[in-house]
Symmetry: D3
Subunit: 339 residues, 6 copies
């Protein structure tokens, strides 16, 4: 019987003007479905891993559209609750090179997910055939801390490994509040993605994008080590490091710390089609690699390669195959038409 | 100095799949700005009447886009409050002939307008140079009864004529609640559009679209007369009558009652490009005609012709000129290319 | 455990110029996935029925796209074989009212499905959890008679009911050849859709669209009766009757014959958005209704209503919900915006 | 050696907002090439008749685009002069059913064609291998009377038959001026399309679209007879009669008068995709039929069928094949997908 | 009472093929409104400065569309004359990196503006509440020297500061003619943008883009100094310096000279979305900064930053807010999604 | 009488998702016509050279569309055979910078061209007025070796110069098979483009894109010399060298060897819009230059410049004029708007 990776969080609709137009110039909007956990589920689903997404969506045709999107990639939608007022959404403008950064306006308050009751989700059922639970810091930030705790509790009861992407969003809560809520969740997780909030506060200066890359890499290494000191060596600590050369070109690498050993991935340099969802592609890549039984170094390599390739994809979720990621890691020469 | 028609209400974004596609088939959405009072303001603005729109919009670039849309048609936006969480919006699917009716999903809860405080609107200022106030039943339905009452109070103080479009929306409140709230507002209005709610309840059967047209016309006439009996002869009572032959073809006529005399407009028969906003085009047409000093019969004729022509326009607001309406009323032969 | 409706046939890509453009005016083509059995599977999948589609698709990203399309609607794609040279496709021009009929150019020769070997399909597995098998006359016409026979044989062995849509396509084979191949298949089917070929030859004159509707209806009735005489009373015989008023407007009704009793559905009159797939929507509607345990008259009513509503949908497969079909059958007044 | 139909006139660019949008709602414009004689040339070219188009186009890439458009349909462009300031163009809004008529704004003044010198055109060369010359009343209206006269003179010298489409355009000149200029041209023509201007003035009332169809048909017949009386029996006189039921639906028939005998075509009733260029399709149809050696009745039938079918085509020129016109005339049942 | 920046000049329609297509590959054209002074007005209008645009537009719906475009950004259109034959327009092809430069074909001859009479513009009225007049060298080049002189005379009479953008366009007139006409206008201006024509002739070699940047910067400095020597120290002399690395990437800086002191702005390096209108954005930025009472150095900095950011905007006019420009000048790190 | 360049090969339809979308995200496909010899014919046709394209296309409206495409550029289509089952096509995804290479799925088996009989082509007629024959290695690879041999034989008989582009496609045949078939064709050709297959095998390592550019240039030089040693000095041997910096940026230069002398062109560095057809643009450029009587060095310069500029063009065939290529070779500064 299949063993599912289960993930839980809010799904969003992204709306953005075509091409480089500004919102007030547009009379149509491109539409993509997103949300951190949904993006992860879609990655895993298209890579052939049994994956289940738990959320709450309104019970009308907008919600139906979201479900069809998920099913398209083979994501199990059986445990999605239906009802409530609305789907969260966000408006975005694509940026332009060094001149305009991409801009986001969130419109997610009062969503069906945020307004869900804890009994909308039956964790005994949803986790019955699971072998991994992935959650993020966005879920408590939008008011579903209790449901999240129940999911974690049930997963612990069943000895299901848990990954937690800290995923701090300044638009949703303050660093202090995030700190207070997220810290108690970390000890239950087996894999932690991101640096915990007080670390970030403590080493914020060093992590700023206008610091030299090497200095920031050093800060990431120290941050991971401090997390291991604080939360113990039984866990895997993961982080990416992004070097934003311009809105159109970035560099990306990744770090893992496990049992005291820090591993660093290859560094990729690329132009960006759409950078939303790269972090989710990273988490998905790591879970996939882990589920395939890869060693720690290949795990971080696969995760970072998946995250890098996401930047070539329009839309919130990664749309590259495992083969494409492997070719990419193998250094395939791009720019040659494959025919 | 210009004298403004002032109107007050919530602005909405409409999002709809291109052409005849269903929502779940679409990957972009056509976007229009709407909202009953905004539509009326745009009609009047493009016809050259000084018009001011009072609302509250979020203080970011989505709200800016709404303001630019209004300005395009010459609408005064100086008294629009800025701030709050979001703009209301609605998703719509265009219907298809006799097979699929157009479908709407509202997503307007928690909007900046609904969450506005009464002191967001300075009626002394906004009505200082006004000569007409137009309001609708949608505004109390989304929670702005007090602000509406203050606007009406200030208008009364300044002897500014008031028009009230009852505009019942089942998605927003029950008929009973609408009844309870709207009835006390009617005595303050000079022009009432629509039949008041208990009348509708009383004569509901006769007004249903599957009743014969003549029977429904009779019900409208009786309804207007009952309103005059209840609320007095000093007012103008207006109503349209729509005969929905199919989703693609309708007939439309209009009725006014003033000092005991019922007037009926010409009946138009037409195919529909987009029927959203036809009622607002009717109200705008009436106010425009009235402001131009037209007699009662031309007033109702102009209003219905404007409403009919709206059905040829993509988007929520009417985009036809006064000249085009006059040619249309004069029976211009359509189907001849004008060159 | 779920019981699947299983269907087997070739999947196609439809390519057509935007709007009313002719092919040589276009520089992009709208794309839809289709194929009779795929359309049926998508209908059933979105209506919530467990449904499995068996076919063969090339093992590259064009084939992957087809699979994602199916999954979107919940269709089980586990038994789709992968490999072979190509997907069949067809070019189409939308017609225009009474002036231009829609035109199709098929390009389906040498497809992966047509070139499949019988051992590409494991019927023991694919039918293990099935409770219905649906097949059409297109499958032998493209060269998969043996595979079809094996599927039927396995279904008979498991006492799974079989529906057979005769679905004659003049572009694929002659009436004589169709006749020779299809006749021996009919006795194994429990539900037969369409009139068998010699009947059509015998009563061809009466079935031509330029014959009066009543005369054609009479021919359908006689045709069904002759089929029952030939193939026995234990089966259900089904047919639609289309009255093509113009390329843009049709009428549609349906007939069933079961145990000597002919039932006729309501007659629908409608304008057409896209008429491809209406027959498949009819078959899907019938199977759905049957699976829900409906009586014979509601079964034919549901099937015809589903087929009629398909004409409002862009694309090959029906995209209307069970609720919408029921509202439609209940005579809901279309043309009223639902809000 | 091929014998060419040669035509001479101004080419235009048509720009129109997508779909039903009004100009001020659009941020892109659909583009088509047009102009009466260019439309005729494209019809004949795609039907396989050797055809040459003589005009003057600016010597830059906008003019190059026009030339490629013509070549696409096999039109000989060798005698097109290059240079001058600009191409004429026109903006158009598509109408909508009975509510909005299509609207045109011409912007053709100062074009390269209007500004051409008579020696830009070498009629000895251009007519050396011709067997027909087609011209219209638009050419003198835009200021190329002298060039037109030279073309006619050379054609007469070579005994090449001449067709003249009177094609009055109110935007270009007054009826009186048209009258004065066009009348002297008629005696040189062998085929005259349209009623000459004073006739129209004399019987204007009867020709108005709001007169009954039968009365207008009678006026056309009388008009043709008066022309024959005035200009002699050696010529063919042709006219269409359009019955504009709405902007979206028209009826069309045609009349020819030759040697005292009036012939009337079938009457077609159809919905309109784009009615620009229908008259040019009529003229092209007549010339084609004549060149194929058809008898007078088939000639007028083919011409009217071609003109009717043009209404199903987006763009200024007809895009239907001879086969399609013949099937259409043969009463092929439309609404049946051809597959 | 508001004090307006008033500007005067011709408005244009820009038409360009979508994306990288060449004109002859396109069947639709993207449309933007432009014209140097219109672009400046739109910049100022959206930044909240009262601004009036004086021009002449044809009195039909194409002209109406232009007016709505201006109103959208809050530009006062009350003094726009209506009538005349047409709007000027230009066709453009976007270039592609180092391979194809953007190409423009002007089609502006015979426009309503060019054909306007001097009494179409009532400068007493249009400048009654003005505090700045901005004009460019394009206006005399298209034949409106007298109107321009009258505007300047009235502004001088009212002691309104005048800015003059020399804006030489080779397609419109020769350098000698521009020289002869523009020189006498300079003494009346308080702010001069660009180097005057003979200077350019004198130092042409040094200003060519294939000269080293430093050498060209030196030439600009000398040019400004020579202008101050010629025209006096009471004025502000401004110029940008563009370094065209490729069609897709440029560098930009700016220089001002005031009372003998040369100031140089930051140098920006960026990729280009659309470079049309950058010079107008520079002039607008300078006037805005000046009107806000900024010091000389911030004035040139703001102007250049506005001009640089324009390159990220599709369309002729700048669409960035004051806040965005200030963040940009403050060195905000681009490439980070703002959420 | 015109002397034609005649070319012979298969025409293809290219279908690709809009922008950067992946195939499974698309619901429409951009369409271009292509095929190596068709691309060459279109280049020559638009440059004004008489050119004839010989192929076989299906006899329906898809084939008609292909013919119109060719005619648009002045290509003689008189000798195109009509009939057979289908046009070959290929699906393509545009790549994205260093992350995703462009991907192609061919669907060309069973095409009308591949299935053509040798008597579909009448070489006596097709080459009667020819002065050049161009063929490629794709034609034997798709099964038309015999027809190709007949074309070559007839050309030899008439002393028509022959160019042969080796054009190896791994998707169509193995290197060994290509080797065996192509080698015997080389002696009949006067101009050979590409290195013959065993050479490539022999020096494969040096030609790989991950080798340094200089080393690969050296290999090309040696390869050309070995070909001359093998096949003799009377011929011209041509090759390009591409340096794929990324999917979005390449460098390109070219080499010719004639009578023992190797010539090298300028090296161009550019960003890529669409790189399909660059090799065909190179061959076309060489033939054009040769036909214009240019010397060997200008010939290779023109060919490489044409090939480089092709990368700025959407679609399979080059769409740049001779003037544009000459300006480009003259080092025109790109990035300056031409106005």
């Amino acid at each position: 019987m299949s063993q599912y990776v289960v993930t839980f969080g809010e799904m969003l609709i992204r709306l953005l003007p075509p091409g480089r137009l500004r919102f007030s110039q547009a009379d149509s909007l491109d539409m993509f479905f997103g949300g951190a956990e949904s993006n992860l589920a879609v990655s895993l689903g298209q890579w052939g891993l049994p994956v289940r997404y738990v959320t709450k969506l309104p019970d009308h045709w907008v919600g139906d559209g979201a479900i069809r999107y998920l099913q398209q990639y083979g994501v199990c939608t059986r445990h999605i609750a239906r009802g409530g007022p609305r789907m969260g959404l966000y408006f975005m403008e694509r940026g332009a090179s060094t001149l305009r950064s991409p801009k986001v306006v969130y419109d997610r308050s009062g969503s069906s997910f945020a307004a869900a009751r804890t009994d909308d989700f039956d964790w005994k059922e949803a986790l019955a055939d699971a072998n991994w639970l992935h959650v993020t810091g966005i879920t408590p930030a939008v008011g579903q801390l209790t449901s999240l705790q129940e999911a974690i509790k049930e997963a612990k009861r069943r000895h299901i490994p848990i990954s937690l992407d800290l995923n701090y969003r300044a638009a949703l809560w303050s660093r202090e509040e995030a700190d207070r809520v997220m810290r108690p969740l970390i000890p239950d997780a087996d894999t932690i993605i991101g640096l915990d909030q007080d670390l970030i506060q403590g080493m914020g200066e060093q992590l700023l994008p206008n610091q030299p890359y090497a200095k920031r890499a050093e800060a990431i290494r120290r941050g991971l080590q401090q997390m291991e000191q604080r939360y113990g060596t039984g866990k895997v600590y993961l982080s990416t490091l992004r070097n934003p050369i311009s809105a159109a070109r970035n560099q990306l690498s990744g770090y893992s710390l496990q049992n005291g050993e820090i591993r660093e991935s290859a560094l990729y340099d690329f132009e960006i089609v759409d950078r939303v969802g790269a972090g989710d592609a990273f988490a998905a890549g790591y879970i996939y690699a882990k589920q395939q039984g890869m060693e720690p170094q290949p795990c971080i390599e696969f995760a970072v390669a998946a995250a890098a390739m996401k930047h070539s994809i329009e839309g919130d979720a990664n749309q590259v195959s495992v083969n494409e990621i492997q070719d990419f890691m193998a250094g395939e020469r791009y720019g040659v038409v494959k025919r």
